[in-house]
Symmetry: C2
Subunit: 478 residues, 2 copies
Amino acid sequence: MAKEKKLVEAITAMEDDFAQWYTDVVKKAELIAYSSVKGCMIIKPAGYAIWENIQKSLDAKFKETGVENLYMPMFIPESLLEKEKDHVEGFAPEVAWVTYGGLNQLQERLCVRPTSETLFCDYYANEVQSYRDLPKVCNQWCSVVRWEKETRPFLRSREFLWQEGHTAHATAEEAKERTEQMLNLYADFLEKELAIPVIRGQKTEKEKFAGAEATYTIESLMHDGKALQSGTSHNFGDGFAKAFGIQYTDKENKLQYVHQTSWGMTTRVIGAIIMVHGDNSGLVLPPKIAPIQVAIIPIQQKKEGVLDKAYELKEVLSKNFKVKVDDTDKSPGWKFSEQEMRGIPVRVEIGPKDIEANKCVVVRRDNREKYEVSLDDLETKLGEILDTMQKEMFERAKAHRDAHTYEVKNYEEFKDTIANKPGFVKAMWCGDMACEDKIKEETTATSRCIPFKQERIADTCVCCGNPAKHMVYWGKAY
Amino acid sequence: MAKEKKLVEAITAMEDDFAQWYTDVVKKAELIAYSSVKGCMIIKPAGYAIWENIQKSLDAKFKETGVENLYMPMFIPESLLEKEKDHVEGFAPEVAWVTYGGLNQLQERLCVRPTSETLFCDYYANEVQSYRDLPKVCNQWCSVVRWEKETRPFLRSREFLWQEGHTAHATAEEAKERTEQMLNLYADFLEKELAIPVIRGQKTEKEKFAGAEATYTIESLMHDGKALQSGTSHNFGDGFAKAFGIQYTDKENKLQYVHQTSWGMTTRVIGAIIMVHGDNSGLVLPPKIAPIQVAIIPIQQKKEGVLDKAYELKEVLSKNFKVKVDDTDKSPGWKFSEQEMRGIPVRVEIGPKDIEANKCVVVRRDNREKYEVSLDDLETKLGEILDTMQKEMFERAKAHRDAHTYEVKNYEEFKDTIANKPGFVKAMWCGDMACEDKIKEETTATSRCIPFKQERIADTCVCCGNPAKHMVYWGKAY
C-alpha cells in the first residue's frame, strides 16, 4: 500500500511551481522515466501510446496529400553535413559524433542525424533527372539527436521522436504551396485533435531554420503563459538544390533546379498537451487522441455480478470507444485518482445499486461534471459527452490564450507586459534584426512569428519608433 | 524513353548469378537505394511500404498478447553495456561509438544500441519492486546499429530496422512460455502472411544469443538453397536480472529475481520475401503483405471512357483491396513489366473491347495465369484469386524447401551434400561444440537449429560417431 499512497499524494500545484507541476505530471502519469543516459528520456507505454495515436492520425493525413514514407540512415558523414553553409553552421555545434566503428577509428566521422535535409538532398540528387520524377513528397518517422545542455521531458531532450517530411518540386510556386499546405495540416491537427489553438505565421530571419528561405510556424500558448513552437514548415527555395546539384530537365529539355520544402512535428506536442490541458489532478487528454477514452471503474467489485457487468459494458462500448476496466484490487477512490492522473477523458462508475437501477455514473475528466446515465443510453451519451468535452477543451484553451494575449504600442508597455503578464504580446516591428536582438536581450522575449493574419496596432516599431513593417507575436518560450 | 528502357532490360537470371539477381531486384523494384553512408541503405517508399505492413500486422498480434510499446534511448553508456559479461563480449566488437557531443568530448563514450537488453534491464530494475508490477511485456520499433564489415541490402547492414520485445516475469515457467509464444507468433506470421514455411527450433550453445540461456529460432530456406534466420526469441532465465539487480518481493514478502525474455524480427524478412518468392521478372509479393495488391492497367487509355472505367473499378475495388491505376503515359507492355518487377500480386487489364463486353483480364503475378472475368464478378473473383495465390505461394515454397532438405547419416555424405546440394541437411549430432566447430570449418555449414520436432535418423553423431543427442538442421546461411 506504500506504493499506492505515493500516487494519491497531491502533486505540486501549478500555481505554486509550474515547472515542478509539469515534472510531477510526466512522472506520475507514467509518461516518461529518466534513463542512465544523460539528457535522454524513456517514453513509457502511457506516453508512447499518445505518440502512436499522433503518428496514426498525422500519417493518414499525410498520405491523403500524396506523402510516401521511407527510411534514411541515421548517420550523416561530416562532409555531407557541410555541403550547405548555413545549415551546417546551425547544426554542427549540437550534434553527436560517431568516431569509432567496432575497434576501428573511422576515416570520416559521422554525426547522428539532427535532421535529414542533407541525406534527402543527396538522395534526390540521384533520383531526380526529369520533370517526370517530380514532385518527390517523402517523409520519415524516426528519432533525431541534438546535444542540448539543458533538457526537459518532451520539450527539449538530446534524442526525440519526430517525423520529417522532405519534398522536391519543379517550381517555386509548388514548393510554397506545399509549405503552406503542411503548416495548415499541422494547425488543423492541433486544433481539431489536440484541442490546442494555434497562431499561424512566419518566423523572422533571426528565428528561421538554418538554410531555409522561409520558415512557417504554429505557436501555441501554455497554461503558464509561455509560448511553444509546435510545428514548423520550411520553404528552401533552390538553396539546397544548388548546394547539392539537384537538377531536372524540364519539358523543353532545359536543366532546372528543384525547389524544396521540409516540415516536422515532434514528441514536443505531448508537452503541449500536458501544459495546455493539465490541471492539479494530473493530465487531461483530449478524447480524440487519448489511448484510453473510457475507464470503467466497478464499485464494490467483489459483489456478485459487478465485474461481469463491467466486462459486459466494456465489450459493448469497445465498438466505438477505447475502453478499459480497472479490475485491480485497489480502492475505487484510488482508481479515480489514477484515472484522473492519467487524463482518461471519462470514467464510468458502476456498482450493485447502479446495476439494479440499470444506470451508471459518468464523470468527465476536464470539468468533473457528473451524469447519471441509463445503461440503455450509455453508448449514445458517451459519444455526446466526449464530443462536447473535445469541443470545450479547445474553447477553454482558446479563451485562456485570448485572455493572455496583449496588444502593446510602446516599449515601456512592452517591457512591463512581458515582465508581469505571462502570455503573447502583439506589437509592431520595423523588420530590423537589431530591434529583435535588443528586445530579446532586455526582456528575454523572442519573436514567435509574424502572423499571417496581420493587424495594424500602431504605425511605428515598438522598439525603435521607426515605421512599422509587421505586427509580430512576442513571448517567452519553451 | 531511355529511362524506360533500363527497366525492361532483363535482370540477371537467378540461375546465372543469384547474388546479382538479388541486387538487381532490390534496385529495380525500387526497394532500396545506396546512400553515401557506407554500409547503410535507404529504404525507398516501395520497400518501406512492405515494412509498414509487416509492422502493422505484427504490432496488432503483439498487442493481442498484452505487449505495450515504449521507446528507449538509442545510446547506451559503455559501463551499462558492460554489466552482463557474455552480452558485452558478443556485441562490443561491432558497435558504433559516440565520443563527442557538439564540440565536447564525452566523459564516457556511448554506443549506438546494437540491441537494448541493457537499457531494458536498467529500466526494469527501477520499475519492478513487487509481484504486482509483473509481468512487464514491452516492445519497441526502432533502428539498431552493428558495424558489419560486409553488407547486403536487408540481409546485413550497419543500420537496420526491427522490433525488440523485452519481458520480465515472476517465474521461469512464465518466461519460457513467453519465449515459445513469441516464436510461434513469428512462425505463424511468416507462414500465414509472408507465405514462407519455417523450421522452429532451438539454437545450439555456439549459435545462441550473447547472454541468453536459450535461443529459439525460425529458419527459412531461400530459393538458392541457403538458410536465413528469420526471427529469434531468447529466454534469459535470471542471468540479466542478477547482473542488473532486478528483484521483486513475492506474495510471501521474499525477494526474488525476475526471469526475462527478448525477441526480435527485422527488415531482414523483406530479404526473405524476395529470395523465397521472387523470379526472373522481379519481385513476387504475397497478397497479404503487398502494399498494392491490384494494378489496374488501362489498354488504349486515350480512347474515350477507358480511364474513366479504370478509375470507376478502382473505386469499387478499393473497399476490399489495395488498388492503383497506372495512368502514366507509358506503354501497356512497359506497365506490365513494371507491375511484375514490383511484385504486385495481380493486374487487371481493361481496354475498349473489354468494356464493350463488360469484362476484363486478370493476370496473377506468381504463375502468370490469366482469367477472363466479367466486371460484375470482378470483386468476388479477385478475392478468390488472391486467396488462392497466397495459399499456392506457401505450398510452392514448402515444396521447394522439402525438395531441398536432405537426410544424411555419415560425414562423407554430409560433406558431399553440403558441397553439391544447396539446401537444409538433417543429421544427428552428439551435442559437442567441437563437432560443430569442425563441421563449420570443413564445410562452411552451420547448425541452423535443433528442431522442436525431433526425428531419429541415426544413432550416432554424423561427425564423430559418438552417441547422438539431437537431430540438427545444418546449412549454409545468409
